[in-house]
Amino acid sequence: MSIPDLKSKQHVVVKNMTMAYGEFVIQRNLDFTINEGDVFIIMGGSGCGKSTLLKHMIGLMKPAHGDVVLHDKSLWHCSPEQRETLMRRIGVLYQSSALFSSLTLAENVALPLGEFTRYTASEIRDIASYKLALVGLAGFEDYYPAEISGGMQKRAGLARAIALDPEILFFDEPSSGLDPVSSRLLDDLIISLRDILGTTIVLVTHELASLFAIGTNSVFLDSESKTMLATGSPHTLLAESRDPRIQQFLTRGEYHA
C-alpha cells in the first residue's frame, strides 16, 4: 500500500469493446483509458448499460468483442487463473453493498484476508478493525449487516472492498438509497481514501452533484446510439460539449438546443 509515484500510468484500458446479451447489443465501440489516480465516472441515462460496463471491467461478464486491460494485462484473453489473480487486485462496492448477511462486519472484511493472504488470525483481526475504523465504523466489528443502517452498510462494503489493498476500486451507484448528506459524506470518504491509499476510483453514477464534485474523468454512454458519446472530465464536457444529449443530462434537462 506504499504511496505510488503519481506518474500518469494507464490503469484500465477498454479497447474497442462491444457488450451484448446474446444477440442484443447493449453498447459497441467503447474505447477509453483510465489513468492512475483518476476518479473516473461512468455516466449515462437509466438502462444505457453503465452497470453492465462495470461488470465487464471487473471480470463478471465477457465482452462480445474487444477487451479490457487492467495493469497492462488483458482481462479476457487469458486463462481463468490469470483472470482471478487480476481480479484480486481490484475492489468492488456493489449497489446493494452485498455484505454476507450471515457474517459479522469484521468477518466480512476478514474473509478475503483469510483466503488470499498468509496473515495470522490476530493480524487479520487487527486489519479488519483498522479497515472498519478507516470508514468510520470503529466498534462495529461484531454487528451483523442487518443490524446497521443502509449508509453504514455501504461503508462496511467499502471496508471489505479495500481489505486486500486494491489498486483500483469500482463503485456501482454508491449513493443510491442514501440521503444527500450521507451521500456527500460517502463521496468525501471515497476521495480521502483515494488520497491516502492512492487508489484509482471507477464510479457508476448518475448523481450530478457527486459526479461534478469528485469526477476527474468520465465516459458518457448513450442508450439510443448504443455507444459512448464522449470522454473527459465532467466539467469539460459541460463547458465544451455541443452534444444536446450530454448537455441535457448534465443540466438535468434544463438545456434547450
Partner: protein, 388 residues
Amino acid sequence: MAVMTAKRTPSRDGGSVAGIAIVRNGEQAIIRFSGSWRRDSGAVDSAKLIKDVLSPPPKRIAFQCEVQNDWDSRLPACLFRLLNECRQRNINADISALPDGLQRLVKQAMTVPERQDARRDGPKTPLLAIIGENVLAVKTNVHEFLGFIGLMLLSLLTLIRGKAKMRRVDLLLFIQEAGGNALPIVTLISILVGLILAFVGSIQLSRFGAQIFIADLVGLGMFREMGALMTAVIVAGRTGAAYAAQLGTMNANSEIDALQTMGISPMEFLVLPRLLALMLMMPLLVLYADYLGVLGGAIVTTGTFDISWLQYINETKRIVRINAFFLGMFKGLVFATLIAIAGCLRGLRCGRSASDVGNATTGAVVDSIVYIVVADSLITIMANRLHI
C-alpha cells in the same frame, strides 16, 4: 537509554522481516519500526507489542519508522491499535516522526472515534438462563402456532364468503406443483414400500403356508398407514420446504410488507392458495400411493409364490374395506394442513438474511415431520378405539 525488547520474527519465506523495537528513555518510549512489512514478511503480534509497551506504562510515546514505502495494511493496523490503547490510557503519542502517508492513514482511522455504546462484549448468558429462555420460547411458539391457525380459519371463512383476495392462477400453479410434479417420486417410493412390506411379510407368513395373507398385510398396511405417511414425508420435503423458502425470500425482500401496505392480507394471498392446493392434492396423492403400494406387493407375491394376480386382487378387495380407504385419505388431508401450516408459518416468521431462509426451510421440514408423526399416532389410536 536501554533497549528493552527487540522483536524479530523470521520471515515466512526467508526474506527480510517486519521488525519492532522499543527503546525506553526515562518516561518516554520510542517505538521503532524497521525491515520489510510486505505481505510475505514475518508475523506481527500487536497484542504482545502493546503489553510490552505498557509494562510499565510510559508517559509519552514517540515513533521512528525505518520502513521505506515497503509496508502493507498491517503497519497502520498495528499502529492504530496501539494509538487506541494510548488514547484510552491518556498516554501522549507523537506520530509526527512517521512518514506522511502513514500518518494520514492512521489519522483517517482515528477521525471517527469509536462509539462508546457500539461495542458489545457483555457477559455470557449462563446455562440456566439459556434453558429458561428456551422453555419460555415454547409458550410463544405455541401461541404463534394457534394464532396462525386462527388467522387461517378466518381467511378460510373469507374465502367461503367469496371475498378472499386470492388469485385463481396461483391456486392452479400450486396444485400442479404440489400434485402433478410430485407423481414420479411418489410412484417410486410407494412401489418400493409395497415391495418391502411384501418381502418382510412373506418371510414370516410363508412359514405357515399363509402366503395369501401377504395381500392383507400390504393392503391394510398401505391403505391405513404407510401410503399416507410416506406421501406426507415426501410432500413435507418437497412442498413444505419450498413454501418456507418462497415465503422466507419474499419476507427478506419486503414483498410481504408490500402486500400488507396494499391492503392485501398475506394470509389470503399467499397462505390460502398453498393450503388449498395441498389439501386438494394430498388425499389424491395418498390414494395413488396406496394403489401403487399394492402393485408393488403384488409383484413380489405373484413373482415368488404360486399366487395369481386375480387371487391377490381378490384377497386385497376382501380385506380393504371402505373405511380403511377413507381413513388413509383423511390422514392425507390432516397431514396436508399440518405441512402447509409448518411451511407457511416458518416462511412468514423468517428473518432477513440468507441463513435465516435456510433455517426457515430446515425448520419447516423438521416441524412437518414431527407434526405428521404425532398426528398419525393420535389418529391411529382413535381409529382403533372407534373400530374404524
